[in-house]
């Protein structure tokens, strides 16, 4: 179950890998770019990617930039759910936005690994 509020920090465990999944909801289509301290890790569809071992990513910042394009003509809504696992606890949170005049919106989210 996802919470609407995404936390700024994510607590890691030294010897466990942190994984990330980005889900584009509302029947829309989107492409993400995931960066760790400015270095690109992955792009496009993000499904359970390995961000790194807890001790290696502690103190680093994970940034996810997603452009959502309107593919579902039945709604003007766009939402992105971020699922992080492998840390002290799994989190799932959702960001929501509506399309404006343009049929694309950008959503950004950062997590500080602690």
């Amino acid at each position: 179950m996802s919470n609407d509020q995404c936390p700024d920090d994510y607590s890691v465990i030294d010897n466990q890998n942190v994984n990330l999944t980005v889900t584009i909801g509302d029947g829309q289509i989107g492409s993400s770019k995931v960066k760790l301290n400015g270095q690109t890790l992955e792009g496009g569809e993000i499904t359970n990617i390995n961000v790194g071992l807890g001790k290696d990513i502690k103190g680093k910042k994970l940034t996810i930039n997603t452009t959502v394009d309107k593919a579902n003509p039945q709604t003007n809504k766009a939402s992105i759910t971020y699922d992080l696992s492998g840390g002290l606890k799994n989190i799932s949170c959702t960001e929501k936005k509506e399309f404006g005049k343009d049929d694309s919106v950008i959503l950004s989210r950062s997590f500080n690994f602690k």
Partner: protein
């Protein structure tokens, strides 16, 4: 040889046309008009409002209803509303793939819409008609998974390129000086991440993108444009892409993605139900339920073959009681690159009358340059005679690019 055959066919058809009955009357096939209506409440009242409310949130729905009720009359006049409650809310877990190829349960939910309308009751003492209806798609058909994967991959490639230009070029043209080499190095690294994951971009494409980025940089420095924010940067990046060798690729992919619902195959079934009543003198005590209708449109289609059933039933009350009438229709359609052939039959049934049928065989042959030879033969409804005194339908003609070969779509 093919040319000769084409010319021969044209000649034969032209001779037939010269000897055929005058090409008057209708040539369109009315079966489509009986398909499940988008707004069954409007259909039941026989209205087609051009400007009706389509609220997208519960609040907007409430405001529209309250606005309607705040008029001086008991029942608001010329009120028309259509809404899809499922889309009032966010659905963060509904991915594009699930939206395009939904389960039956998901399809019913996401395609469910409600419509309501009022119209004036003619005569004295007058009053109002009020109708409400629902519509949904029970069986959604499916979009070929391989084609969907290809399309989504294409989207990611083009979206990646947009992102590539956005992050690689736009932020740097906001300052007067920037180091192109460092941008290229950085973007090349990022491209290699894509390459290493072997997901989207080929090495050749990456090289091509790097050539384009240099061209774009030069053009943009000359133009002096600067984006205000990231949204504008994406917009500018889209403009950039349209100026490059990837012209309109992203937009074309998105257009194709948005029209997927029209290219579905398999079993598709639409359903609609509506009811109407009138309030004589706009008085509640004079209110009476007077009409209801049911539409079911099952379709089976694959690449070349379509089978369409239409079931429509209307039941209306008059001074002598309830009277039902129904229409059923079947259309079989086969299309290939060169020709399309369809057979359709439609039956009308109503209380106290003999069933009335029509049968139509339609043939279209593509003679090139979007020009079709068309031929229609069949038997019309009794009492609906097109040519002469009989019920025989014979229509022959040439369609000069005014339409396409016959097709059946789910909507």
């Amino acid at each position: 040889m093919n040319n000769f055959i084409n010319k021969s066919i044209v000649t034969v058809f032209l001779i037939i046309i010269l000897n055929a009955l005058p090409l008057t009357g209708q040539t369109s096939i009315p079966l489509d008009s009986m398909k499940t209506p988008e707004s069954p409440a409007f259909m039941l009242l026989g209205i087609s409002p051009t400007n009706f409310a389509k609220p997208e949130t519960p609040n907007a729905f409430a405001v529209n209803v309250l606005n309607g009720l705040s008029s001086k009359e008991l029942i608001p006049q010329n009120f028309a509303i259509e809404t899809a409650p499922y889309w009032w809310f966010y659905h963060p877990q509904l991915t594009f793939r699930e939206y395009i190829n939904p389960t039956i349960c998901q399809s019913i939910q996401q395609n469910f819409s409600f419509s309501a309308a009022t119209s004036k009751l003619s005569g004295t003492p007058g009053g109002s008609y009020l109708a409400g209806g629902i519509r949904t798609i029970i069986c959604p058909g499916s979009f070929n998974t391989d084609n969907l994967d290809t399309l989504i991959k294409e989207y990611h490639v083009n979206s990646y390129k947009r992102d590539f230009y956005t992050n690689g070029v736009i932020p740097d043209i906001t300052v007067k000086e920037f180091n192109l080499d460092s941008i290229i190095d950085n973007e090349l690294k990022e491209s290699r991440i894509y390459l290493s994951s072997d997901k989207y971009i080929s090495e050749e494409e990456t090289k091509q993108m790097l050539i384009e980025i240099e061209k774009i940089k030069n053009d943009y420095f000359k133009s002096g444009k600067k984006p205000k924010d990231s949204t504008e940067a994406v917009k500018m990046a889209n403009e950039l892409i349209s100026q490059t060798a990837d012209k309109e690729k992203l937009q074309n992919t998105l257009t194709e993605i948005r029209s997927i619902n029209k290219k579905k195959t398999g079993f598709i079934m639409d359903f609609a139900l509506a009811g109407a009543g009138f309030f004589e003198g706009d008085s509640v005590k004079n209110g009476e339920f007077s009409k209801w209708g049911l539409w079911i449109t099952p379709t089976y289609c694959n690449e070349n073959f379509d089978l369409l059933f239409i079931l429509k039933f209307l039941n209306g009350k008059d001074t002598t009681g309830w009277k039902g009438s129904g229409n059923t229709g079947i259309r079989l359609l086969y299309t290939s690159e060169a020709f399309g052939i369809s057979f359709e039959t439609e039956g009308k049934f109503s209380s106290g009358r003999q069933p009335n049928f029509r049968y139509i065989l339609n043939f279209n042959y593509d003679i090139g340059k979007n020009t079709y030879l068309t031929a229609t033969f069949g038997k019309d409804f009794q009492g609906n005679i097109i040519n002469g005194n009989g019920d025989l339908i014979t229509l022959l003609g040439i369609n000069f690019g005014l339409g396409n070969a016959p097709s059946v779509t789910s909507k």
